[in-house]
């Protein structure tokens, strides 16, 4: 049995690693002989089989092929209908995890418990969906770990470095930046910042637009009119992007499927960098945000570590070099280090101190003594970057006489302005009648190692209380019973 297993469930690629007896992690190839498995699922219409990986990505029908499901893990209403059955993002992810489990266990032994990586800024629902996906695939999640944390664990292990490290993780779908301190075997995370929907696939989309523009100019026709052809051109743009990381100029030819002629596409690295400059500037903002969160300057960082396939873009390296005054180091194979780090994390988690990735609080009317004005604000109970697990309490007052019901909205976000935070739950507590305003109410938030939050509200006068874990409602959110039923169904499926 493989005791310490880590899985990188990525937007575009997924990988599984295990810890060998000598203490070093190793990637386990899938049954197709690939070290990484494309996170793509194809539902065949002829046979009752689900293809996962390269076979799913390279062939099949677009209507029956699911790409980048990870981007929807936080959407409670996202459902994909195939042959009359509605699939949740967690179920699609479970198919990918099942392929990894089934294929890899033939090499490294039975896999029952795993550490799975998630983007640092994955919210509550996305984390919960990831755990559900693993359970459906027949694996217990020992811990979720943030992707840049896993990468840093691998970097520290393989390079033997110590000091303050900034991890810049630009993957297929997300950007994460984490700052951490490494001292021997001990790792202390200081902060993580993330940008969803900012990754290599956004660059591919921009290149696709450029291809379509060029095609229209040269032939007067549209480059693609259906999803199948759009996918083919998108694959060509991705290949061109990769070549531009090695060459200054790339030539390509494209045609549509209407016999409108062939267009010659001439791409330069300089032109590509201009195309993605806006996106790369956003990544700089995010790095600065991480430094600000940790109250650090660029000169306080000892090592800048690159993770994720998109860090192969030369401009990424040059931007960071200019910012920090030192050459960023690649974390070995930038596509594999997250899975490798996850396997290490499975063994070393006790020596790794993590922090809360977001602030949690409640909405409250705040009285300003100077202006004598009241304003609705986000009142933070657990600030971002608190060491986890943690539990914090704040005391509030009721504002009206004879308040019968106390409602506490649970917020996620740092902004004081209530309009710019997410309300992720609500606790409603009945309290006794005929009480004056000003009764004290204690609100406690607890945060566990998997970055999941619970809230407790206590009416101090009556002693009444209510505790809830944040729950979500929506067509795509499975109940425990439904999860069990679908798990059994999924385990009987043919997944190749």
């Amino acid at each position: 049995m493989a005791e310490y297993v880590g899985i990188d469930l990525g937007t575009t690629l997924s990988g599984l690693a295990y810890l060998k007896p000598d203490g070093n992690p190793e990637i386990v190839p899938n049954a197709d002989g690939e070290r990484l498995t494309p996170s793509v699922v194809f539902f065949d219409s002829h046979e009752d089989v689900k293809l996962v990986g390269s076979a799913a990505r390279d062939g099949g029908e677009p209507d029956r092929t699911i790409f980048q499901i990870k981007r929807h893990m936080d959407d409670p209403e996202h459902l994909i209908e195939i042959d009359g059955k509605k699939w949740t993002p967690a179920e699609i992810s479970a198919l990918i995890l099942s392929k990894l489990k089934r294929d890899c266990s033939k090499i490294c032994g039975d896999i029952t418990e795993v550490v799975i990586t998630v983007p640092a800024n994955f919210n509550e629902l996305a984390r919960k969906s990831t755990i559900a996906a693993a359970e459906m695939a027949g694996m217990k999640v020992k811990r979720l770990v943030n992707e840049p944390t896993a990468a840093a664990v691998y970097y520290a292990h393989s390079q033997g470095v110590k000091g303050r490290i900034l991890v810049y993780d630009l993957g297929g779908g997300t950007l994460d930046t984490t700052i951490l301190d490494v001292e021997g075997e001990s790792i202390r995370i200081l902060t993580s910042e993330g940008a969803r929907h900012l990754g290599g696939s956004n660059f591919d989309d921009l290149l696709l637009e450029a291809y379509a523009d060029q095609y229209r100019k040269q032939t007067g026709a549209v480059l693609y009119s259906d999803e199948r052809h759009r996918r083919r051109v998108l694959q060509a743009t991705e290949d061109a992007k990769k070549m531009l990381s090695k060459l200054q100029r790339v030539n390509d030819t494209v045609a549509n499927d209407q016999n409108s002629g062939i267009a010659r596409i001439d791409l330069t690295r300089d032109g590509f960098e201009k195309l993605v400059r806006n996106m790369l500037t956003r990544t700089v903002f995010l790095v600065e945000q991480a430094l600000d969160s940790a109250k650090l300057k660029p000169s306080d960082i000892d090592h800048v570590v690159l993770v994720g396939g998109s860090t192969r873009i030369p401009k990424v390296k040059s931007i960071l070099e200019k910012m920090f005054g030192k050459t960023p180091k690649s974390c070995g194979n930038v596509d594999e280090c997250v899975a490798l780090g996850a396997a290490l994390f499975a063994k070393k988690s006790a020596r790794i101190q993590e922090v809360c990735n977001a602030s949690y609080g409640t909405l409250a009317m705040v009285y300003n003594a100077k202006t004598k004005e009241e304003k609705l604000m986000n009142s933070i109970v657990i600030p971002k970057n608190s060491v986890i697990p943690c539990s914090k309490t704040q005391v509030y007052q009721t504002s009206e006489d004879n308040e019968r019901v106390i409602e506490v909205d649970i917020t996620q976000g740092e902004d004081e302005d209530a309009k710019f935070v997410d309300v992720i739950g609500r606790i409603t507590l009945d309290v006794p009648p005929n009480r004056p305003k000003g009764c004290e109410v204690a609100v406690t938030f607890s945060y566990d190692e998997n970055q999941r939050v619970r809230a407790l509200v206590v009416d101090k006068q009556s002693g009444r209380s209510k505790e809830v874990a944040v729950t979500y409602k929506g067509a795509g959110v499975l109940s425990d019973e439904e999860l069990k039923r679908r798990s059994q169904h999924l385990r009987a499926m043919r997944i190749e």
């Binding site: 936080d74 959407d75 409670p76 209403e77 800024n121 940008a195 969803r196 929907h197 400059r277 806006n278 790369l280 500037t281 956003r282 700089v284 903002f285 995010l286 600065e288 945000q289 600000d292 931007i319 200019k322 409640t362 909405l363 409250a364 009317m365 705040v366 009285y367 300003n368 003594a369 100077k370 009241e374 304003k375 609705l376 604000m377 009142s379 933070i380 704040q394 005391v395 509030y396 007052q397 009721t398 504002s399 009206e400 409602e407 909205d409 976000g413 740092e414 902004d415 004081e416 302005d417 209530a418 309009k419 710019f420 997410d422 309300v423 609500r426 004290e440 109410v441």
Partner: protein, 111 residues
């Protein structure tokens, strides 16, 4: 509804609101209740498009450090909103993030 007992001093130094259109409240939230009481604006002709500076609340006389701080605040705010489940909010966030990058490039140069 509550009044804060202990965090009053912190909230006095509150951040400036963005000049950009604010995201709508989530249904059922306290904020939603507050907003429901607000008067509905009369129909007006569509305003002329705002410049990136106007969207970011940047004025000509602002010192560089103030511009930098405002851009950081707005980036933090709209980077978060960019992953909202509400397509309208995501679109607004994208517009703002583009404006933030443009203002940065104009005042501090390209990366």
């Amino acid at each position: 509804m509550f009044k804060i007992l202990k965090t009053l001093s912190k909230s006095l130094g509150g951040s400036k609101p963005a000049a950009a259109p604010a995201p709508a409240a989530k249904p059922g939230s306290l904020l939603d209740k507050v907003n429901k009481g607000a008067p509905v604006a009369a129909a007006k002709p569509p305003p002329s498009p705002k410049t990136p500076e106007e969207l970011c609340g940047i004025t000509g006389k602002m010192p560089k450090e103030e511009i930098r701080a405002q851009l950081k605040l707005l980036f933090r705010r709209y980077n978060r909103t960019a992953s909202s489940l509400d397509a309208k909010l995501r679109h607004e966030a994208e517009t703002m993030l583009d404006a933030i990058v443009q203002v940065r490039e104009k005042h501090f140069g390209e990366i």
